[in-house]
């Protein structure tokens, strides 16, 4: 069966050439070709089932991983105050910590399936509430940054590849690699020092952190205030993230550039610009599509540092706060959300990829 061989070789080549995008959707296992219309639904079902198994595995891991933390969580809850033994017992019972581990585990799984992730020790509020409270803020930050760095990466990557070896190419690849090597938290701190606090004659242009000034603005004034607070965190995220998109787009396009159909297109008299936009780029963007989705999941998990540095009231900042207590139910819940974001996005990439590239998954 030929389709088996094709799918294996496609998997190998994406794995090797795309660098950070580990073979992704092209790794469709086994023969899937030649079955006509039924192939895609079956492919979807397989991918969704795989994702469900992964999510369950994450749920189990997050429970056991964080039980390994040394120390008594009740001690953290009472914050070092003198508490009587009875009161400690009450706390234990309240959070179910007096039960045997397996019973805690079954309770945890049962509740998680009904959408209850437990109660935060630190805030004494349901974990789900804390997460839904912080989620929009994280989505605002990551969403803005994601759109900007994806567009920037693709545009600059395309131009770099088109003028391979030229000054612009060397400049942009070098700059992207340099920014990609910066620790995001350091870049954030540096931006705060220079643009928020101000050095010497420089005035502080941007707020040092948070999401709003708290002056009680409403409507448009509030939106402007939030946007003002958004600038530096977004710049930090875009600076450290766009490099990868640029490099993947560039190398994918370079792979494509030697192809015969491009020579044909130019030979029939098409302008350079049209050849690039209509012929080369759509094909070259295939690996980038996978990367975009993977990035979307990864960025949600990767904002921990930027949110911590800029005191942004999102999931990442919450995770840092929860870790320092440690607030087990909250850490568990956030860990699950971060992993779920990545899993869901990877699955979406798997599902969408065959629509772009009919060689895969049909």
């Amino acid at each position: 069966m030929t389709s088996d061989a094709t799918s294996a070789s496609v998997g190998a080549s994406t794995g090797a050439a795309a660098g950070p995008v580990k073979d992704g959707p092209a790794a469709a296992r086994g023969p899937r070709g030649g079955r006509g219309a039924t192939a895609y639904p079956r492919y979807v079902a397989g991918k969704v089932a795989g994702a469900a198994v992964s999510l369950l595995a994450v749920l189990v891991t997050s429970f056991f991983l964080f039980r390994l933390i040394p120390g008594d969580p009740v001690k953290f809850m009472t914050g070092g105050r003198q508490v009587s033994a009875e009161q400690l017992a009450v706390y234990r019972e309240q959070f179910g910590l007096d039960l045997p581990l397996w019973q805690q585990f079954t309770d945890y799984c049962g509740k998680a399936l009904t959408g209850d992730l437990g109660t935060s020790y630190q805030f004494n509020a349901p974990v789900v509430d804390k997460i839904t409270e912080a989620l929009p803020n994280t989505l605002l930050l990551t969403g803005t940054a994601f759109v900007l760095y994806t567009v920037l990466g693709i545009v600059l990557g395309t131009r770099s590849a088109w003028r391979n070896g030229g000054f612009g190419d060397r400049f942009h690849t070098g700059l992207a690699l340099t920014l990609y090597s910066l620790p995001s938290f350091w870049l954030g701190l540096l931006l705060i020092v220079t643009l928020s606090v101000g050095i010497g004659p420089l005035p502080g242009l941007f707020p040092t952190g948070g999401m709003e000034s708290g002056g009680g603005e409403e409507g448009f004034a509030y939106a402007v205030d939030v946007a003002h607070h958004l600038v530096l965190p977004v710049v930090t995220l875009v600076a450290v993230e766009y490099g990868q998109t640029l490099l993947v787009t560039r190398s994918a396009l370079l792979d494509e550039m030697g192809s015969d159909y491009l020579t044909t297109a130019r030979a029939k008299g098409l302008r350079d610009d049209l050849v690039r936009r209509r012929h080369a780029v759509p094909n070259a963007l295939l690996p980038t599509v996978t990367l975009i989705f993977i990035n979307l999941g990864r960025t949600v998990a990767g904002v921990i540092l930027v949110e911590t540095v800029f005191s942004w009231p999102g999931l990442g900042g919450l995770f840092y706060q929860a870790l320092s207590v440690p607030d087990l139910p909250l850490v568990q819940g956030l860990f699950f959300v971060f992993a779920a974001a990545v899993i869901v996005m990877n699955t979406l990439a798997d599902l969408i990829y065959p629509l772009f590239d009919p060689r895969v998954g049909r």
Binding site: G11, A12, G15, A16, A17, P20, K22, D23, G50, S54, A57, V58, L65, F66, L68, I69, P70, N164, G165, D169, R170, G174, L177, T178, Y180, S181, L182, P183, F185, W186, L187, L189, L190, I192, V193, T194, V197, G198, T208, S251, L254, D255, G297, R298, A301, G302, I304, L305, T308, F319, Y320, L323, V331, F335, F338, A339, A341, V342, I343, N346
Partner: protein, 304 residues
């Protein structure tokens, strides 16, 4: 001409000569990549600094009691980088910190690549249920957010350098495993593998003598790139306060700076040197990795 002088009775000598020749060829092509050479030079400089640190700054550089400057002193002729929040010499601390950052980066990358290589080669060599199960596990690790998992592991285990190495090593291996498996599958279809099998070569013989040498170049490039991200991860974990508090590292220095309020006070000179050091070393490893990659696979078209 020299090849003809080697008598046929000494295949080992012949093999070594070939190896030397291919190493020389590799170096010739590597030298053509200016960025790669620049990266290598930076690395050599940092490694020399790290090795010579006891001679240059002395091991009492992190001693709080005998600190040469006053807390948060500005850069001056005596203390070119200024002083940290305990009055210690920042230049000395940054040089001393290179030891931890490079060591942790190297060890974590070696651990990560070793796991990835064993898993990748075995999963590519043994088909059937073993490969299926192993690749399922790899896929599962691949979708876990690496940083979050590393933070979780570092939180769970005790604060030490080993913890950091393990936390980074066991969370970054899946990419290597995938790459190595793909390469192993490609190598295993070649006729000489069939020949080796026909002559009675066992699994171990085929994996160690035929597959491994063909996978090694890829692994080398991958290692260099992983060291770069391991150094960044080490700095990140130390910055979050999950590192060993008793050793000086670049990430730890930045955490100190933040805790001392250097950000809101505008003490930029406290923040800049450790961050530049991290970025330089991470960039240098990335440049080397890309140069190695493009020597091995010229189709990637890395700018020279």
């Amino acid at each position: 001409m020299t090849t003809e002088k080697i008598p046929a009775a000494r295949p080992r000598g012949l093999a070594w000569q070939r190896r030397r020749a291919s190493a020389a060829r590799f170096w010739r092509q590597y030298r053509a990549h200016r960025a790669g050479v620049l990266g290598l030079a930076t690395l050599v400089l940092f490694v020399l600094l790290a090795l010579a640190a006891p001679l240059l700054v002395g091991s009492d550089v992190d001693d709080v009691t005998g600190a040469p400057g006053s807390p948060l002193e500005r850069p001056s002729a005596e203390l070119p980088f200024g002083a940290d929040r305990f009055g210690r010499d920042l230049l000395g601390l940054v040089i001393w910190g290179a030891r931890v950052s490079l060591l942790v980066g190297l060890l974590a990358a070696v651990l990560s690549v070793a796991i990835g290589m064993v898993i990748g080669v075995t999963a590519g060599h043994f088909r059937g249920w073993y490969a299926t199960v192993i690749m399922r596990i790899t896929d599962w690790f691949l979708v876990m957010p690496t940083l979050v998992l590393a933070i979780a592991l570092a939180t769970v285990m005790s604060r030490s350098l080993l913890t950091i190495v393990v936390a980074i090593g066991v969370t970054t291996w899946p990419t290597t495993a995938r790459l190595v498996r793909a390469q192993t599958l490609a190598v295993e279809t070649r006729p000489y593998i069939e020949r080796a099998r026909a002559l009675g070569g066992g699994h171990w013989h085929i994996m160690s003598r035929h597959v491994l040498p063909n996978v090694m170049p890829l692994v080398l490039a991958q290692t260099t790139l992983i060291i770069s991200s391991a150094i960044l991860a080490e700095a990140t974990l130390a910055f979050l306060g999950l590192g060993d508090p008793t050793v000086v590292s670049w990430g730890g220095l930045l955490q100190d700076a933040r805790e001392a309020g250097a950000v809101s006070a505008g003490h930029w000179w406290y923040l800049v040197p450790p961050g530049i050091a991290i970025a330089l070393v991470a960039l240098a490893f990335t440049l080397c990795g890309r140069a190695v990659e493009s020597v091995l696979n010229p189709r990637l078209g890395v700018a020279r």
